[in-house]
């Protein structure tokens, strides 16, 4: 276990080198979200006062997007997938086959440390962003809701990481994985609730989405936080989320297992 603390430590130091990069990423990342919030404002402004869109008031809609930034800062996979793919392509993983370090755990530690540094750097713009919309930032109903939200966010983080890891395993078979990563990301972006809350979709479409892991990568924890999912459906949702975490973990492990058999240590 101790060696993985070292990995986290190294990861933190490594990520600190790119703090300016992170800061810019965070600041620029808010701008489109801000624009989306303004877009909704204009839509609500064109309607009679107090109108709700799919049971969202303007305040709730704004709150939704603020929560998207928070969950995103906590769980987004930044460059891990590129780096894993590059490690495979360049033959850097050879050393892990020899060392008593598990590559998946190693990457998980690095992911964890990059999230810590990202949060530390993004804290300032993030809190400024939330502060300027503080009247819309609704606290969770009670402590238990917040607790379940955090449980769900942690699973979201794991789900994000394992699915990215599994995707990066494609590098064992194809030279250029970036296209595949972007295709997955496109689906995730729209189907996870990044762009808009999923329940403003036509009900049929929304129900179909729940058969995929995507809603559990963003929308689900937010719906817990906002009290839109609670009680039994929430527990059921958490179980399904846990299932997806285990499933992506299994796929990630299996893909690695298969990949290693094919691996020929290019340039190693």
């Amino acid at each position: 276990m101790k060696k993985y603390w070292h990995v986290i430590n190294i990861g933190i130091q490594n990520n600190l080198t790119y703090r300016v990069n992170f800061l810019f990423r965070a600041v620029f990342g808010f701008i489109p979200l801000l624009a989306t919030i303004f877009l909704w404002r204009a839509i609500y402004a064109g309607k009679p006062a107090g109108t709700e869109v799919a049971a969202y008031s303007l305040a709730q809609m704004t709150s939704y997007y603020l929560l998207v930034t928070v969950v995103d800062a906590l769980t987004a996979v930044n460059e891990d997938d590129w780096q894993i793919a590059a490690d495979i392509k360049d033959g850097n993983i050879s050393q892990f086959l020899l060392k008593p370090i598990d590559y998946l755990n190693y990457r998980l530690c690095l992911y964890f440390s990059s999230r810590i540094i990202y949060l530390a750097v993004a804290a300032l713009p993030l809190s400024f962003f939330i502060f300027s919309f503080r009247s819309y930032f609704i606290p969770p109903a009670d402590l238990a809701t917040f607790g379940w939200f955090m449980v769900s966010v942690i699973m979201t983080g794991l789900l994000q990481f394992f699915s990215s890891y599994a995707m990066a395993m494609l590098a064992f078979w194809v030279l250029e994985v970036s296209t595949f990563i972007f295709i997955l990301f496109a689906f995730e972006y729209i189907a996870s609730g990044h762009l808009f809350p999923l329940n403003i979709l036509p009900p049929v479409l929304e129900r179909v989405l729940y058969f995929t892991p995507f809603p559990y990568q963003m929308y689900f924890p937010i719906s817990i936080y906002m009290g839109r999912t609670s009680g039994e459906p929430m527990l059921e949702g958490l179980l399904i989320q846990a299932f997806w975490v285990i499933a992506t973990y299994a796929i990630a492990r299996y893909a690695w297992f298969r990949g290693i058999k094919k691996y020929s240590a290019v340039g190693g």
Binding site: V20, A42, I43, G46
Partner: protein, 303 residues
């Protein structure tokens, strides 16, 4: 949002052969400023032609990858249109913009972005790698304008294909709106698109120049890429400081809104058009000034 090049991956599969090829193709070193204009233009045109040939050859070397990237772009374009579709399930207008007007706007924005991408994006993102690895040395030594060679080194042919899909969507939206733009409108639209592309290029090149200070500027360049998301939103959704900043400082709200307005007859006066062209000129001048400042900081990489 989709980035056609991943940080690192593109940067590694180029440079030396291309630069080496250029060395052979360019004539003996002569001070460019002293040359008479026609000759000067012809020479740069010749160089650019060589760069094109090189890009075509490179793309054809990775055919399936080339097609996959087009698929990725089409997917993201569809995603944006889907977003518009979902929003208009719940409203009839945003400001005065109706659904098909916004579709045309998104199409125009995609068109501008893709043409920009075809000519400049990869080159801008690679500047920081050139600085970090010190490969810029080599380009500085070439007997051509350094900014020219950095900006135009590589052409992303997929961008042209995607620009075509953007035009198709725009034509469809125009048919839905029952508008028949005159030749003058179409010509004006293209001119305004050029101004918009100039703005994107100037600003992104300026940002890429930050790499002379912080070495790893790719995050900054990709950060700028986020701003494309604003360019495709109807300007009337914004007010106050946000509108002011993204009109007069980073003119994202002009880049595609003004050309789209011209096409859908939403142009009430010539002022927005003049503003767009004026801002393009200002951005180009600032970008050139910033580039000269940045270049002074260049110390090469230890080797």
């Amino acid at each position: 949002m989709p980035s056609p090049a991943t940080p690192g991956s593109v940067a590694s599969k180029n440079t030396p052969p291309l630069a080496a090829k250029l060395m052979h193709e360019s004539p003996a070193p002569t001070p460019p400023a002293a040359l008479p204009t026609p000759h000067f233009l012809r020479r740069y045109f010749g160089i650019y032609l060589a760069l094109w040939k090189n890009s075509v050859a490179r793309e054809m070397g990775f055919k399936s990858n080339f097609l996959l990237w087009i698929f990725v772009e089409v997917l993201w374009f569809g995603l944006q249109l889907g977003f518009i579709g979902v929003i208009y399930l719940h409203t009839d207008t945003i400001g005065t913009w109706t659904q098909w007007q916004v579709v045309l706007l998104v199409g125009a924005s995609h068109f501008i972005q893709q043409i920009f991408q075809a000519f400049f994006l990869v080159n801008c993102t690679q500047l920081s790698e050139l600085v970090r690895t010190g490969k810029l040395d080599f380009l500085l030594l070439l007997p051509v304008n350094t900014r020219f060679i950095i900006s135009f080194r590589q052409v992303d042919l997929g961008g042209f294909v995607n620009a075509g899909s953007a035009l198709a969507v725009m034509a469809f939206a125009a048919a839905k709106l029952h508008i028949h733009p005159s030749l003058l409108q179409l010509f004006g639209f293209l001119l305004l698109c050029v101004a918009g592309i100039l703005i994107h290029y100037s600003l992104m090149f300026l940002l890429a120049g930050i790499s002379f200070w912080t070495v790893r500027a790719q995050g900054i360049v990709w950060g700028y890429y986020n701003l494309f998301n604003i360019a495709r939103m109807p300007d009337e959704a914004f007010q106050g400081w946000f509108k002011a900043v993204f009109t007069f400082v980073i003119p994202m709200l002009l880049v595609s809104n003004v050309p789209a307005r011209l096409l859908v007859d939403k142009m009430t006066s010539v002022r927005p058009m003049l503003l767009l062209v004026g801002m393009a000129a200002v951005c180009a001048i600032i970008s050139e000034w910033g580039w000269r400042q940045s270049l002074r900081r260049y110390t090469s990489a230890s080797s």
